[in-house]
Amino acid sequence: MRRRQAIVLLALVGLLVSLYLWLYKIGVIGTLQCGTGGCEYVQASRYAELLGIPVAFFGVAGYGVLFVAGLVGLQPAFAGDRRVGVALAGLASAGFAFTLYLTSIELFVLHAICRWCVASAVIITAIWGLAVTGLARRR
């Protein structure tokens, strides 16, 4: 249960981080608090969009789904339900793979690091670790 609580909390923080980047991308927030200048560069690059949709929006959607799935998993009726664990591990794995792709673009193509993207990468990695180990423990 503690593991799912941690996933829900991390997903909420991840949701806020990606929401921040998305709001910047669509012009609601004027400047990114970044410090290195890399955030603006990364966000202005062509890799900040996928299929015409801002990458940050995928983060909002992904973390949103993880958050809801985690909350469902916390309800007494689903506490022991393995399907919730599988769904969380599957979603977290997809998010983790997507983050690996985005981080490699930052490191090897753009040669720039966006601190908010790093924060999101750390969060999804932690969620992935919790979800996968949680699934393994329930076997």
């Binding site: 909420l12 929401l19 609601v28 927030i29 004027g30 890399g38 690059s45």
Partner: protein
């Protein structure tokens, strides 16, 4: 469990509050004199400063970064020969595109300054100053005053130059150039394209001369 939901609510409220504050807070005001012209749009159809006639059979587009040591070396060693032997006789047209690398702290400021010099038709003179007096790139301090000295050396109207740099008028143009380079697969600087095709060889004046000569021969043969 109630404590956990309270924690979630607190995180959501704090996050929401920060967004609300962020969306209302205005960005730090850039010093912009009232007479400054409005910022240019990203798509102002500007495709770089050029040297040489537009009838030249060969057009070389250079994606460069003013802080990059390789770019400085190219500009000071190869470029004078290219200008004399290829651009002046009309064999080559040269196009400069900004590609300020994010790892370079002052590149964007240098690009901005050069664009502002270009506004006064002194881009290439300023370009030469930036590359030939490259000590600013090695010093760990804001090179703004050095850039101003370069502007003075090439005869810029410094009042207009200051207003232009402070207003960051050309940021959208520089970003557009950067994105154009990325779209073409530029990963480092300097990167060259010859008649739109990426140049993969060693960028020397001899290599560009050989290209220009072979193209001129091919055109003559066709005639």
């Amino acid at each position: 469990m109630k404590g956990f939901y309270a924690l979630l609510a607190a995180v959501a409220v704090v996050g929401g509050g920060l967004f609300w504050y962020g969306s209302r807070a205005k960005p730090a005001p850039a010093p912009r004199p009232p007479a400054a012209a409005p910022p240019l749009a990203a798509g102002d159809a500007f495709h770089g400063f050029t040297l040489g006639p537009d009838t030249a059979p060969l057009e070389v587009t250079e994606y460069s970064d003013f802080e990059c040591p390789f770019c400085a070396s190219f500009a000071t060693v190869q470029m004078p020969v290219i200008r004399e032997q290829l651009i002046a006789p009309g064999k080559v047209r040269w196009r400069y595109r900004d590609f300020p690398l994010p790892s370079h702290r002052w590149s964007r400021l240098a690009s901005q300054a050069a664009q502002c010099a270009g506004e006064q038709r002194k881009f290439w003179e300023f370009h030469d100053q930036l590359f030939s007096r490259h000590q600013w790139a090695q010093a760990d301090r804001n090179p703004r005053s050095e850039f101003r000295d370069f502007g003075k050396a090439v005869g810029l109207d410094l009042e207009k130059y200051d207003a232009c740099v402070d207003g960051q008028r050309y940021t959208p143009r520089i970003l557009a150039s950067l994105q154009e380079g990325e779209a073409l697969g530029v990963g480092g600087t300097p990167t060259f394209f010859v008649n739109g095709k990426r140049f993969e060889g060693r960028p020397t004046s001899d290599a560009f001369k050989a290209l220009a000569d072979s193209l001129t021969k091919a055109v003559k043969t066709r005639k």
